[in-house]
Symmetry: C2
Subunit: 122 residues, 2 copies
């Protein structure tokens, strides 16, 4: 498959982890639900920015995957923002169907609540 090169001005702003990756938070653009978190290297980000669909690097399978190619649960990209220190992306999408491979709308519904103590000003 053809490798696209990421815009050097964007590449220069990225602060990769030791595996060459940044975290990508995927958020439904209208409801603002956080759907999932994936991982992108420069190539995955380049494809995400230019193709209108999210592309990730699978840390377990060590390959690129374009969301929805197997499941049909495509993520149409609306916007991609970078954070202040360049190690995280916020990708707003229009999610077709379930974001989670379990069939849940979000990966956090699938995982569940950890029962945190609720904080507040005393």
């Amino acid at each position: 498959m053809r490798l696209m090169s990421l815009d050097p001005a964007i590449a220069a702003r990225l602060k990769h982890d030791p595996q060459g990756l940044v975290a990508a938070v995927i958020q439904q653009y209208d409801t603002l639900e956080v759907l999932m978190v994936g991982w992108m290297d420069d190539e995955a980000l380049s494809r995400t920015l230019t193709s209108g669909r999210t592309v990730f690097w699978s840390r377990s399978r060590r390959e690129y995957w374009r969301k929805g190619d197997t499941s049909g649960h495509v993520q149409w990209v609306r916007s991609v923002a970078i954070d202040c220190d360049g190690d995280t992306l916020l990708v707003q999408v229009d999610q077709v169907g379930a974001a989670c491979h379990t069939g849940s709308r979000t990966c956090f519904e699938a995982g569940g609540d950890l029962g945190a103590v609720v904080g507040g000003p005393v």
Copy 2:
């Protein structure tokens, strides 16, 4: 400082990266803005679950930091969820002031938009 041990049932569900960390997406509980992403090891997660405030591991400074101790911009914890494969947390908080050290409300406002091509069904 006293180390707290994370509930073993929760620890068993976490899939850490090679640095022993999981990504924690921090979301304002009512507006659903994604404020920032931080990193937690078991100790930081334990403190976050039990103290009502977010505690992170700083990868650059290699130390724990409790959000707001320096800035006053405390994050009061509302809920913590784990994702389907245990490598990401979604922490809903009530953010006091700005989440970003730049003074912006979110770290993604501070970083800015990358100009993605917008996708959609053909």
